[in-house]
């Protein structure tokens, strides 16, 4: 539709926002002003910031639930700023905190709604529904014909995620999807969703006000300040190691060095090789440094044996760990 212009994004960019702005009628200030960012294909980007910072408005401009006042939006190489919004939205998964399952439709009808709009035949829709329910950890035989109000909050949001994935959209927009769910279930849903993302590799834009959720989930995190100022857009490790300014530092809060340990894996620590010694704790290369350190503190030892992942065994000391943690400061992941 549009001619390739100098601003047409390269193929590895899935979402490009260019000078995006929103001012609501009757307001003297922009809700979002002149925001530009590129989100890469398959990337999990988290928007985080205090309420009123424009993160949700920005998210809702990507599928044009909010029409931008200025600027352009590209998705998958196409300028979608002026395309038919309903057709655009069928290609973009959308998950919200309040879930919004349609109460008079069964789980299968909710999940199958977008495929139905896309004109799929019934057999294909049924297969897709079962596949997706499996994917989000709900047994299709049990849940297919249930109604939303027969489900727990956690189950409803699994259905919400399945529904957003139904048309196999390349992009998912998630507005605090786990915000209204109890902490234990939320933690489990986050873990499951990360595993799911490893398989499906969608381009995800995820809004939260919880910095810990952002650090846990995001490949990159966009920290919004007042008036939609993009204070920093970087990996979790970069944000913890090298906060761009005092605002980011205070938003991330205390304990950055400790929290960094949760982002490092034992595999990231070089060296070792001393033969296993008595009294050492056993960990795997996949453990976070945080978990490994905790094991050492619990057993009162300064030594651990790392096994698994076919690398053979090696042993690391507390000192190796501390050096690695210090080195990680300022280095991108």
């Amino acid at each position: 539709m549009t001619d390739p212009t100098p601003s047409t994004p390269p193929p590895d960019v899935m979402i490009r926002l260019e000078g995006l702005a929103k001012r609501y009628p009757g307001q003297s200030a922009d809700a979002v002003s002149a925001l530009s960012m590129d989100i890469r294909r398959g990337e999990f980007v988290v928007f985080v910031g205090p309420s009123g910072c424009g993160k949700t408005t920005t998210l809702r401009m990507i599928n044009r639930l909010v029409e931008p006042s200025a600027g352009r939006i590209w998705i998958d190489g196409e300028d979608v700023t002026d395309v038919d919004p309903d057709r655009l939205r069928r290609r973009i998964g959308y998950v919200i905190q309040q879930i919004g399952l349609i109460p008079h439709m069964t789980v299968a009808q909710n999940v199958g709604l977008v495929p139905r709009l896309l004109g799929w035949d019934k057999a294909r829709i049924r297969d897709r529904v079962d596949e997706l329910l499996d994917l989000v950890g709900l047994d299709p035989a049990v849940f297919r014909d249930r109604y939303p109000k027969q489900l727990s909050g956690g189950q409803q949001q699994r259905v919400g995620v399945a529904r957003a994935l139904a048309g196999d959209p390349p992009v998912m927009l998630m507005d605090e999807p786990f915000g209204a769910i109890d902490p234990i279930t939320r933690d489990r849903l986050q873990d499951e969703f990360l595993k799911l993302q490893e398989r499906i590799r969608k381009t995800i834009v995820f809004v939260t006000h919880d910095i810990d959720e952002a650090l846990k989930l995001g490949d990159r995190i966009a920290i919004f300040g007042e008036g939609s100022r993009l204070a920093q857009f970087a990996t979790p490790l970069e944000i913890l190691s090298a906060p761009a300014d005092d605002y980011v530092r205070s938003f991330v809060g205390s304990g950055a060095a400790i929290r960094r340990l949760g982002l490092l894996r034992v595999a990231d620590i070089p060296g070792g090789g001393t033969p296993p010694s008595d009294g050492a704790v056993r960990v795997t290369e996949d453990h976070t440094v945080y978990a490994a350190l905790e094991k050492m503190l619990e057993s009162g030892t300064d030594r651990m044996v790392v096994g698994g992942n076919g690398r053979g065994e090696r042993s690391l000391t507390l000192r190796d760990l501390l050096l690695a943690a210090a080195r990680a400061k300022g280095e991108p992941r």
Partner: protein
């Protein structure tokens, strides 16, 4: 003659008038339903017009029905026409009001999610909003029906069809032979029709409320 004897001897006439009564009520409510739901949908983007309509139709309810029937004689004459028009006028308000309420009380999160999935405004209305508003709209139709069953009896004042004829004739010659029985049979018929239609609506409600909305 006892009341039951009276009813027994005049059962043909009473039955005929009862059927007429039901017919004129259902006809009027059907027209009012089309108008009420239609106006409710048509004014979605015109909240001022909607408020004005609710005020006007609500005010019409305060006109005594006997007066309204009479006022329509110069325009519509006697018989079926003024009866149906009057009953329709009364039935529009509860249906319009419940249509508006039903649509307004649909969970905004459900609407937002539906928009976000790519349902256009028409699809949102047909697939999501109307089914969810339906139990409330139906209740408006039910209230309108019960109300109009009673008002229809007054229609006999303009020679309208239905059980009102028994009441008016009976009352006009009270003290005469079987006058009380005649009026009573009309009143009993109206009450019976109202109760029956009410039950019918409960049944329709059960059958047409989407399963996911049942408690």
């Amino acid at each position: 003659m006892s009341f039951l004897e009276y009813v027994d001897r005049n059962s043909d006439r009473i039955a005929f008038l009862t059927v007429q009564h039901v017919e004129v009520v259902l006809l009027s409510v059907a027209i009012a339903a089309v108008i009420g739901v239609g106006l409710g949908l048509a004014t979605e983007r015109a909240p001022r017009v909607r408020r004005a309509l609710l005020a006007v139709t609500g005010t019409l309810l305060t006109i005594p029905s006997f007066a309204l029937f009479g006022l329509l004689i110069p325009v519509l004459g006697l018989g079926l026409a003024p009866t149906v028009v009057t009953l329709t006028v009364y039935a529009v308000f509860p249906i319009l009001r419940n249509t508006v309420t039903g649509l307004e009380t649909v969970d905004p999160a459900v609407i937002d999610a539906s928009r976000g999935m790519g349902l256009g405004s028409r699809q949102r209305l047909m697939l999501v909003r109307l089914p969810l508003a339906w139990p409330v709209i139906l209740n408006g139709i039910r209230v309108a029906t019960i109300m109009v069953v009673a008002i229809a009896a007054i229609g006999a004042a303009v020679r309208g069809p239905g059980l009102g004829e028994l009441i008016f004739r009976g009352l006009s010659r009270i003290g005469g032979a079987n006058a009380f029985n005649e009026a009573m049979s009309g009143v009993a018929g109206v009450v019976l029709v109202a109760l029956t239609l009410d039950l019918l609506f409960v049944l329709i409600g059960r059958l047409t409320t989407p399963r996911g909305l049942h408690d």
